[in-house]
Amino acid sequence: MLIELERRKQPSRTMLYLTPVIAVVATMLAGAVIFTLIGHDGFAAVGKIFFGPLLDPNKWQDLGVKAAPLILIAVGLAIGFRANVWNIGAEGQYVLGGLAGTGVALLTWGMEGWWILPLMCLAGVAGGMAWAAVPALLRTRVNVNEILSSLMLTYVAVQLLYYLMRGPWKDPDGFNFPQSRMFTDWQLLPTVVPGTVVHLGVPIAFVVALAVWFVMARTVFGFRIKVVGAAPAAARYGGFDAKRTVWAALLCGGGLAGFAGVLEAAGPFGQMVPQFPVGYGFTAIIVAFLGRLHPVGIVFAGIVLAVSYVGGEMAQSSIGLPNAATGVFQAMMLFFLLAADVLVRYRIRLGRTTAQGEGA
């Protein structure tokens, strides 16, 4: 007896859009069962994590703040994934964006002017791009797999952060804590909704998602990305250069991750600290796939993952669920999504062996 996967002729369109929902529901059910088995009240935990943040209006602002970097990074990654460029080092690019923004903030410390914040943002984008340029160069020049190079650079970025925090960028008035100076008012993102923590980065993330949607759907640039990903030979025939596309895909992903980094530094953190890398760059990969690599889908997926972060924190304080539970739920979501995708594209057949092409 063999389990065979047989390709479906035409995967159902409805199912393609429905799989993310199925994955989320399956995650809730499986999570409830698992946490019950290990001695928690599993169903209460799932309720707290997935519905708590939605039912409590006080938590909505947190959702926006958590979703913003996830959405920004994920739309950038989705551009690359569409072109079959697998940048999974967004976490490192995010850190570099934050560091570059911090660098500008430290240089302009004590200065005043509206130009400081835009300059920090530009530096952040450039920092993320620079970090992504390394895998791009290696891939296009010496054919190094970008999955490995981008991932490994993440650890380099984190070590660079630790070095700067403990050494050159340590706050001189900070009682020897390994962290940078607090940013000044000219270096901090303004809040857009008075009385909340919702900073300017939140609406920016939504606007960027819409802009990327337009670029991907309506421009030759987006067309090129999609053709290179779907059919490299057709791309060459259409006059699209594969190497330039690899560069463009990595720079877009790195730039947006860097942008998210500087917005986090100048927003929720308000300074640079060793705890800056919180895993947004990795979680954004889940967001990108859960959102079907479509900017609008990514906005919704970003909110779903933000719910799991905020809900996870709530469950920690109210029912004593471990912090790692959030990660478990997020990973299950990706697992169920990929599994559901396989079933949408293939049907399972229990069949006998067939000797394909034997003796040909």
Binding site: V220, F221, F223, A230, A231, A233, A234, A355, G359
Partner: protein, 520 residues
């Protein structure tokens, strides 16, 4: 041999379905001992599926197979071979770096000593008058010789039914004649042959009976010797065939495309390098490039289209302008359009709509993009609709996915997309490969009409009949080198065939290569 003798194999109501298609629908036919039986049909008619079931690679969903009168199951190819079924596939599975004998030994079901095997191989070669040196390295052999290895492999099993899947698509005319002699000799010993092809004159020449498949069903059977190629083609497509109207006299104009000293290294381990290729095509002219598959056609097509730029700009000139190092997009802007051999994933993107697929190559010439690189979706849909309309493409509309079109319709769409751009020069590879006879005639007519309107056309094809029908002049490509140019009216099939064989026709050259390989 027809009309008498017992049946070797009988198929009764064989049905096989794949997701979304019924590949074989209650197919029944019988082959007598010693008969050469043709299985005729267009691509996708279900011929390959059917023979895969006879050879045990696939299992029928319904129906039964009778072998010499009694029902049998063919669970796998090994069982089929034991029963006496041999098969020669269209694509060979040979190791290039090994000798003929080593390759044959690898394909044997049981263990046998090298010397015993060699003796048997030599006996088979002698019996059928086949020329093949068992110690030659495969990479030094021509395609015809490689096919002989596969035939010897099958003959060593003393088959009582030999299946030949499109055996002549890679052979020169001389090699085809040799193959037919072998097959006739084999049939005379009582072996039945199931011969799959869509080349009608070959079937007339060789076969005693033909079963014609269309859409997975048997639609007719006939004695090919009493039919004309045209009448069989009409049975195959189920309609009447239009003749290509070629203008009586074409007056070529100024030179549009000039290729001189074109050199291009082959891609991958078995890519073919182009070596000093040169030819010129004038306005209003169709220039053919013949050759056996895998002799540099793909490389030439990519070099001309701009997918693989040449080393020097002057190697390719378009209306006098050096375009050798430009990419496909730049060449298209200057008026050189191209159609690659492979439709899915090269000429078109399967998961894209037809409207998106016109953006792939027509975005600049047809003004499908506006300021800032924004795609004008309306203009793209309108152009796709115009292509569909003008070329009679069977599609639900501009928003149909390319993957939803049949091979022939997608080819018509791709050809139409390029032709309606009014190119100065059009380079097409295998324009009617895998396309039904009706669509092929329409494509030929479109090429002839485009030339009449003043464009220069290059057709790269392995189908000699096609080139002879539509071209004015032609050359033959062999191992990346192009022969001298022949006028189609004056060239003989024999001469073209010899050029197609190229260096492979020269026994001394190949023997030297073999010795060199052995010396290592």
């Amino acid at each position: 041999m027809t009309g008498e003798g017992p049946y070797r194999i009988e198929l009764e109501g064989i049905t096989k379905a794949f997701p979304g298609v019924l590949a074989n629908d209650h197919v029944s036919f019988r082959v007598r001992a010693g008969q050469i039986h043709a299985l005729l049909g267009e691509n996708g008619a279900g011929k390959s599926t059917l023979v895969k079931m006879i050879y045990g690679i696939l299992q029928p969903d319904a129906g039964r197979i009778l072998w010499e009168g009694s029902p049998v199951a063919m669970p796998n190819p090994k069982a089929a071979r034991r029963m006496g079924v041999g098969m020669v596939f269209q694509h060979f599975s040979l190791f290039e770096a090994m000798t003929v004998l080593e390759n044959i030994a690898l394909g044997m079901d049981g263990a046998i000593s090298q010397s015993a095997l060699e003796a048997r191989v030599r006996a088979v070669l002698h019996e059928y008058g086949l020329k093949l040196d068992p110690h030659r390295v495969v990479s030094t052999l021509s395609v015809g010789e490689r096919q002989r290895i596969e035939i010897v492999r099958a003959l060593l099993l003393n088959p009582r039914l030999l299946i030949m899947d499109e055996p002549t698509s890679v052979l020169t005319p001389q090699e085809v004649t040799q193959l037919f002699d072998t097959l006739r000799q084999l049939a005379a010993t009582g072996c039945s042959i199931l011969y799959i092809s869509h080349k009608l004159h070959e079937i007339r020449e060789l076969c005693d009976e033909a079963t014609i498949l269309r859409g997975g069903k048997v639609v007719a059977s006939c004695d090919p010797r009493r039919e004309t190629p045209r009448s069989m083609a009409e049975m195959m497509i189920g309609g009447s065939l239009k003749q290509v109207a070629k203008p009586k006299e074409r007056r070529p104009g100024e030179e549009k495309l000039a290729v001189e000293g074109l050199v291009l290294p082959g891609e991958g381990a078995f890519g073919v390098s182009l070596d000093d290729v040169g030819f010129a095509v004038r306005a209003g002219e169709i220039f053919g490039i013949a050759g056996v598959a895998g002799n540099g056609q793909n490389e030439l097509s990519m070099a001309l289209s701009g997918e693989r730029p040449a080393a020097s700009a002057g190697a390719i000139r378009l209306g006098g302008k050096a375009i050798g190092v430009m990419n496909a997009n730049q060449r298209r802007a200057l008026g050189l359009c191209a159609v690659p051999e492979e439709r899915n994933g090269h000429g078109a993107v399967a998961d894209f709509t037809l409207a998106e697929n016109v953006v792939l190559t027509a975005r600049n010439r047809m003004g499908l993009t506006g300021a800032g690189g924004i795609i004008d979706a309306g203009a793209a849909a309108a152009y796709a609709a115009r292509v569909i309309d003008t070329f009679g493409v069977k599609a639900t509309g501009a928003d149909a996915l390319a993957s939803s079109l049949s091979g022939g319709n997608l080819q018509k769409f791709i050809m139409g997309r390029e032709i309606l751009q009014q190119p100065e020069v059009l380079v097409v590879s295998q324009p009617t490969w895998g396309v039904d006879a009706g669509a092929a005639a329409a494509i030929h007519q479109a090429l002839v009409d485009l030339a009449a309107s003043g464009s220069a056309i290059v057709v790269i094809s392995q189908d000699l009949d096609e080139l002879l029908a539509i071209c004015d002049r032609m050359a033959v490509i062999n191992e990346g080198r192009l022969s001298r140019t022949l006028n189609v009216g004056e060239a003989s099939i024999d001469e073209i065939g010899l050029l197609m064989g190229g260096v492979h026709g020269d026994p001394f050259a190949t023997a030297e290569l073999s010795e060199a390989a052995h010396a290592h």
